[in-house]
């Protein structure tokens, strides 16, 4: 019985966390930003550093 309860609890937690991540994305999204905000040559992910050329 415990085995099933634990398995169910983990599934519920996983669903809840995915829902939390979706809510997070909706809250922090930047409506003004577009795909063009990051030029193809500069992928400005992460602390302002371009992951392709390391330029800040």
């Amino acid at each position: 019985m415990t085995h099933r309860i634990v398995a169910t609890a983990v599934r519920l937690v996983l669903v809840a966390f995915v829902a939390a991540a979706i809510a997070f994305a909706l809250v922090v999204r930047s409506p003004g930003a577009t795909d063009g905000a990051w030029p193809a040559t500069h992928r400005n992910f992460g602390a302002g550093t371009c992951v392709t050329c390391h330029e800040r």
């Binding site: 415990t2 937690v13 966390f17 997070f24 930003a33 990051w38 992910f45």
Partner: protein, 443 residues
């Protein structure tokens, strides 16, 4: 606080600790600056995955407070399944970032142009996959338990360390001051758990050695180790509980095994405690048989909530398969020592008569309490008049007393027996709250 409230508290704390960094991120960085909702979703999943992975060790670090609420075997199962869930979140994080074309596929490779923060993130994800897959497939790939234990520990630390580096260097949200504070707190929590689990606890055990008093062969290719405390009063325990046995030169030795006590819980605090261990072809077949009286052993425990001391009832039904009978024998021993007159019905399953571990001990105990033992053999010898086959619903029903619904049920054995009993006992009308199970192959 009762067990249910304690369980709710610890479960709630776990969910809060996993989700808290996300909450702080959303508050401290209200605008991500990302052009894509999917990128933000991927980031959110990444933060959740890292929090879950950082808390994985805490789940199995033998915190008495949490283990007392759920039972260590339930926590181990949660740890295992939460690890799989965290891996799914990690994979979703990677796939979503690739799908938005924010990162080219080559970023996952070993190419020279890949920035180091992404390289360590990829390595962390690979270690997560390795630790989960190796753990799930350990038996299938015939990996020795001891090797797996070492590998698991190293990979787990690598997962969290590399993941934390990845987030600290790359995470857009991690750059904010509140997130840096949260990151530092979680790192301190992780290191604190690691320190407590791998340094402080062994240091305490170092002052509490045990020595082998006897090492006796039993039926079913098992051995009963009787240990006595050396220079300290030992401990009292509830029948059905278990300890982690470590036979290294010091308690810092990484290899340790969860073993149920098979002796009575009514021993004096300074008395000896017995453990019955079946030879499974690993440590149990090499190190255990070689132990001689006077040899030193480190005993961490007792742990577990699988005990009649926590469940009052007018009688007990015990179902044990193979060496899973060990904690049940401890229960019967204890009830006998307490002159308990309540009826006890014990189903003892094994392949052959020679594998009925501790059968002689149970036969002796029948004279001291209202105990009925039902041995069930898959391959009975000629002339066997007892039960034959597997323990199933029909077999159990034939032996149950009329007031069986009010009894407490304890089941311990290999996975197929446990899975079967999860179906059979409720079908016999036994309320879920009176069915207690412990899987001895929990690690």
């Amino acid at each position: 606080m009762n067990l249910l409230l304690r369980g709710i508290f610890w479960f709630g704390l776990y969910v809060f600790l996993v989700a808290f960094p996300l909450l702080v991120g959303a508050v401290s960085v209200p605008q991500s600056g990302s052009p894509s909702l999917v990128v933000d979703l991927a980031d959110g999943l990444g933060y959740l995955a890292l929090s879950m992975l950082a808390l994985e060790m805490a789940l199995v670090s033998r915190m008495d407070e949490a283990a007392g609420a759920f039972g260590l075997d339930a926590l181990l199962q949660f740890h295992r399944e939460a690890g799989v869930a965290a891996l799914l979140l990690v994979l979703a994080h990677v796939v979503l970032l690739l799908a938005t074309r924010g990162y080219p596929l080559a970023m996952l490779g070993p190419g020279p142009g890949v920035p180091w923060p992404i390289r360590v993130g990829t390595l962390s994800a690979a270690c997560t996959a390795a630790v989960v897959l190796v753990s799930l497939g350990r038996r299938r790939i015939h990996l020795r338990y001891e090797t797996w234990q070492l590998l698991h520990g190293i990979l787990a630390v690598a997962v969290v360390a590399l993941g934390a580096l990845h987030v600290a260097a790359l995470g857009r949200f991690a750059a904010s001051t509140p997130m840096r504070v949260v990151g530092a707190l979680y790192l301190a929590l992780f290191l604190g758990v690691l320190l407590r689990y791998r340094v402080l606890r062994p240091l305490l055990l170092l002052r509490r050695p045990w020595v082998v008093e006897s090492n006796r062969a039993e039926r079913g290719n098992a051995r009963t180790l009787t240990l006595r405390p050396s220079g300290h009063p030992g401990f009292s325990f509830q029948p059905g509980q278990f300890c982690w046995l470590n036979m290294g030169r010091t308690p810092f030795h990484l290899e340790q095994h969860p073993i149920s006590m098979s002796s009575s819980g009514e021993v004096p605090p300074a008395g000896a405690v017995s453990f019955t261990i079946r030879d499974l072809g690993d440590w149990s077949g090499t190190v255990v048989p070689a132990l001689r009286p006077g040899d030193r052993v480190w005993v961490d425990g007792p742990y577990g909530v699988f005990s009649p001391d926590r469940e009052e009832g007018p009688g007990y039904v015990l179902v044990g398969g193979g060496v899973g009978v060990t904690p049940l024998v401890s229960m019967v021993e204890t009830l006998a020592d307490r002159d308990d007159r309540r009826p006890v019905l014990l189903f003892h399953g094994a392949h052959t008569e020679d594998e009925l571990t501790l059968a002689e001990r149970l036969a002796e105990l029948r004279t001291r309490l209202d105990l009925t033992v039902v041995p069930v053999l898959e391959r009975p010898p000629q002339g066997w008049t007892g039960e034959v086959g597997l323990i199933d619903g029909d077999l159990i029903r034939r032996h149950l007393p009329h007031n069986h619904r009010r009894f407490q049920y304890f089941v311990c054995g290999p996975a197929p027996l446990m899975d079967a009993m999860e179906q059979v006992l409720p079908a016999l009308g036994i309320p879920a709250g009176r069915i207690h199970a412990e899987r001895f192959d929990m690690v």
